[in-house]
Subunit: 330 residues, 2 copies
């Protein structure tokens, strides 16, 4: 038995979340629905123009780790914060959720990463991420015993943005595979896919990655096609298992010849889509590491994603195990 | 015409909000539903035991100022933060809401105040406040032109906890009355009332305060009675105008012989009562400074309070002017 169900690796980020209208995005040159990378100066400028905000620990894979732990799974996390106030918040929150996290924090500059997230009235989030301390994550931050001990290691495509994180990923994946574990990734963002298409395809085709999470836009960006079906046919060949989310249409899981369509959770009010993909992955991976069927994995993903988009912020306030039990899924 | 509709004065606090169960409150000696004052050591201990949290600017009168501005009113604020990360968050948020705020921040220690707020499954919030920089608020922070220029000056009973804020209040009230303005206060908390009962009664009976906001518990604590009606009869005599909130029973406004009962907003899901009283006061004071009837003032209060308790955090994410227009109240 593995010591951990899921080891997540990602950019350790605190979210700063505010509402805005579509005109604000346009005026400020923010690509809607995307993760926009920004430098420290632009971070200051955007914050000065941002409305009243709330702060919450985020980071794609951090949200997934928190979700797995909330389902009752054993989660671990690698990610780099600085020894500052936001780093303290990030560390408190992930520990308080029960996630094993002991990446050595950076002393001094740059500060802990933050993402200014603007939520439009349609619930869509547009992210503006200053990577800060995340640029220092490297192979020296890999904890080999955790890499070997986790049933699935899951990482963000976003980790191709900082300079040395990809070396940490390759090393972790090697350790995991040597220990007979599996490796999963999320494609993260259509523009991120565009930046690193060849490398992501190589990760999949070389078997460095076994399981891929993507939304339809990311998958179609990967294969540079407007056809969902054509892209799905390709991703089916390029990895052992893929889960593709489609917003209000639910998701589709493919594994070899198998195709499992998953219904979305019925939504009362769409508030903020931040964390939807991260929590889908959390539910799916929790089910997967508990040995559930693909359909049951997808239903847990739909549940967690459906809950997180009905609130502000990237991690659901509910206990996901209780919610899953109440829904008859666990 | 006044330059400001409402000047709010209070403890400038950032909220740290997490869920917990009732057993947690008991184990940690936290009085449920109350504002518990804590020192720096206990703040550290409670944070280490706190679940995953979100951060949001708070402070009772700060929430009211933000609410007035969200309704489209002209709001100003006096309150003391330190020049640190949380102070930056507080300042950004209140400025971004359009509130005039220029109290000189403290250089160095103590840090900006924070309140750890534990929300139980019934939606009740239990606050644990470390006053930090708030203890330095004093008469030197009174900006006389704002005190004279605001139609209503509104302050928290909580300001009797730090040592010198009450001097700032007395001075502001004098300036306001000299300029022909009105002064309002909230009784804040039943235990706060218990700490300063005689002083609060003196503020009312001496005419330092014209308008009083209270919930039923606070009003009954003020008059040390279990009878709502007996307390209401007394508060009616002790101030010119009082608005008493009663949770799901709505509120009652009394002025001389007038009695105006107000319905609550129908609630879909009670999430977190933090800010309910503050936002009731915001709605009421916005209506009052626009010259609306007492009934209309109360309805605006019910609207804002009803919205804030259906989300996590003390300031509604909605634009309150739009919500009030949609509800036919403005």
């Amino acid at each position: 038995m593995a010591d951990y169900d899921v080891l997540c690796i990602g950019n350790a980020i605190v979210d700063i979340i505010a509402q805005c209208d579509d005109a604000f995005l346009e005026t400020n040159g923010i690509i809607k629905g995307a993760m926009n990378l920004i430098d420290a100066r632009r971070a200051e400028l955007l914050y000065s123009r941002m409305g009243p905000a709330v702060e919450a620990s985020g980071g794609s894979a951090g949200n997934t780790a928190a979700g797995v732990a909330s389902f009752g799974g054993r989660a671990a996390y690698f990610g780099k914060v600085s020894k500052d106030h936001l780093g303290g918040i990030f560390t408190h929150d992930i520990h308080a959720q029960g996630v094993a996290f002991s990446t050595r924090p950076l002393e001094g500059e740059p500060p802990t990463a933050r993402s200014m997230i603007f939520v439009t009235p349609d619930g869509e989030r547009s992210m503006n991420t200053y990577l800060g301390a995340c640029v220092e994550l490297g192979p020296e931050d890999v904890e080999p015993e955790k890499a070997r001990a986790a049933q699935v290691t899951y990482f963000e495509g976003y980790l191709w943005d900082p300079p040395r994180a990809k070396e940490a990923i390759r090393q972790t994946a090697m350790l995991a595979h040597e220990a007979g574990r599996e490796v999963a990734m999320t494609l993260s963002d259509p523009f991120c896919v565009d930046r690193y298409r060849d490398e992501f395809l190589h990760l999949m085709r070389s078997g460095t990655v076994d399981i891929v999470f993507a939304n339809a836009h990311e998958m179609q960006s990967l294969y540079q096609t407007t056809s969902f079906d054509a892209a799905l046919a390709q991703i089916r060949r390029d990895c052992r298992l893929a889960a593709v989310t489609r917003s209000e249409k639910g998701s589709i899981i493919v594994r070899g010849d198998e195709t499992v369509p998953i219904e979305p959770l019925p939504i009362r009010e769409l508030v903020d889509t931040t964390g939807a993909g991260d929590l889908y992955a959390a539910g799916f991976l929790h089910g997967y590491t508990q040995g559930l069927s693909l359909g049951a994995c997808g239903d847990l993903g739909s549940l967690a994603a459906g809950l997180v988009i009905q609130q502000v912020g990237p991690r659901p306030r509910q206990n996901l195990r209780h919610e899953a039990e109440r829904a008859g899924l666990l």
